[in-house]
Symmetry: C2
């Protein structure tokens, strides 16, 4: 299996520049001095999450005459918005397949970018998207299982290495594994002494288990859906698991309470709005058994239910 | 009176680089297409507010042999933390004078940077700081009434013009006026077609009134203290009011409810934590009568009481 390379990511960086926000590293003054922490605030991307980078790289790579026939994606989350927004940037039509249990607020957010939204029962999601491609044309943009998507997310790793060349620990949320596959490729090439550590909710800790056992995990969808971190309920593909096995140093887990606590810490002490999936790395910094050293925690997104944010702010003492 | 120049700001930018975060401009997808909006998230500075820029430039400019005797400031807010943090960066002692009504949490935040905190009655704040300088040595770093502080804040304007050269409207919070004096100087030089508009809470709208009447305002401290925006309760000095009169296009005001509403919009739709003072520009974008065009709203800081953030998230529909 061909893994992506640092050349793929450097080419992606050229395509992503000016379309995604070049996010800074933000020093966290509340971290102890012997274990300095920087946050990488990807919730500042226009759609509120890192997913824009992969979508831009994948859609930019489609030949012009094919791209103008449109793009198709199945997702109810940040990837849907990323594809819809990027299609609008390129002036091409987008069709997003969502399921009957998708909240109306997410459907509205996707439709606001001008995408056509098709609603189907959960079991038909993938097949419906494939049928749209077969009958109407257009190119499918998968959420993580694609080299161009992985390379786009990897641009985050390039930026981390450029801004903090002596980084020692990079903490990355893990779901389908596209994000950490790209970042680990970049960090291995540009900051080879740094450890890349994946973070999952304990309730969706399939990759942590698979990493330990040395084989791709097979947790059920229902099991993975128990976590509050709704962006971390996917499972690695063969392609992403191959990257993780080869390039990642460890995968750790955090509890639901630790995630809630980290959301409050990020809001109150770092002035950052993180969704549960975006807060797992800070939760790991605070609670997991990790290597010491100059640490970067990736805040992957900030699309949180306002009621949940209000609740953790009221409940927690930070 | 000598106003600061673009050369002062460009020199400040060299001193500020690597000490303050280079914040990006973040496109706001919720803004109408005929009036695009970018946010400049200065709450991402390590101390949670833009004040770091002015403090760095002022402290960097002190000759080495003088600086090592220490710096002194009187402030209970973001300037206190900015001076304390910058002194630590330079390895020099800092003494911060706060008042007996300063919340313990702000005293703790300042002390955490290693500063010595002196608590005095409110009326003695300035004289106590001057006495410290007179008896113990050290250099006073004023919060806004100083060319080096103004030039440091002006680096924000340089960055806005570099990232969005065809910006048409720049919205800036106004309190003592150091921030808008610096930004207006930079924008006049680098994006001369843009209008620079100050924003105040109506309840501390002294500069808006003074701007209209053509003379420096003289509202009482009690009047200015009525607003929830605790960072916007100062009044311009002769130096800053001279910059405002010459370089600023207008000063508008927003209500307390509009400020609360903007805090919720920023958190829910832009994934940004803003304190009331940092949300006034978004409030003005949403509610004030402003020129149309490509607009930048400066989010000046994010040090908000968690209970207030929870309250606006619960109360508002955004």
């Amino acid at each position: 299996m061909r893994l992506i390379t640092i050349d793929d990511i450097e080419a992606a960086a050229v395509r992503v520049a000016g379309r995604a926000v070049r996010t800074p590293l933000v020093p966290s003054l509340w971290a102890p001095e012997d274990r300095p922490l920087w946050l990488k605030p990807e919730q500042l991307q226009p759609i509120g999450a890192f997913k824009l980078r992969g979508a831009v790289n994948a859609i930019a790579r489609i030949p012009d005459d094919v791209r103008e026939k449109g793009v198709v994606a199945y997702s109810s989350g940040n990837h849907a918005q990323a594809v819809a927004y990027t299609a609008k940037l390129y002036g091409v039509p987008a069709t997003i397949v969502v399921t009957t249990n998708t909240p109306q607020v997410k459907i509205d957010a996707t439709a606001r970018h001008g995408a056509k939204v098709v609603v189907v029962p959960p079991a038909d999601r993938e097949s419906a998207a494939e049928e749209i491609v077969a009958t109407q044309g257009g190119t499918m943009v998968p959420p993580f299982d694609h080299p161009d998507v992985i390379a786009g997310q990897g641009t985050i790793g390039l930026e981390i290495a450029a801004d903090l060349p002596d980084v020692e620990v990079v903490l990355v949320p893990v779901s389908g594994g596209g994000l950490i596959s790209g970042i680990a490729t970049a960090i291995r090439a540009k900051a080879p002494n740094a450890k890349v550590i994946g973070v999952e909710p304990e309730l969706a800790g399939d990759t942590a288990e698979g990493f330990r056992l040395g084989r791709r995990p097979d947790w059920s969808t229902d099991d993975r859906a128990r976590t509050i971190a709704d962006g971390l309920r996917s499972t690695p593909s063969e392609l992403t698991f191959a990257h993780i096995t080869k390039l990642v140093d460890d995968v750790v887990t955090v509890t639901e309470d630790q995630i809630r606590d980290a959301i409050a810490v990020l809001a109150v002490r770092s002035q950052q709005v993180a969704e549960p999936s975006g807060a797992v790395t800070t939760a790991a910094y605070l609670h997991a058994d990790l290597p010491r050293g100059r640490t970067v925690a990736l805040v992957s997104g900030g699309n949180i239910d306002p009621a949940l944010l209000a609740e953790v702010l009221t409940r927690q003492q930070v």
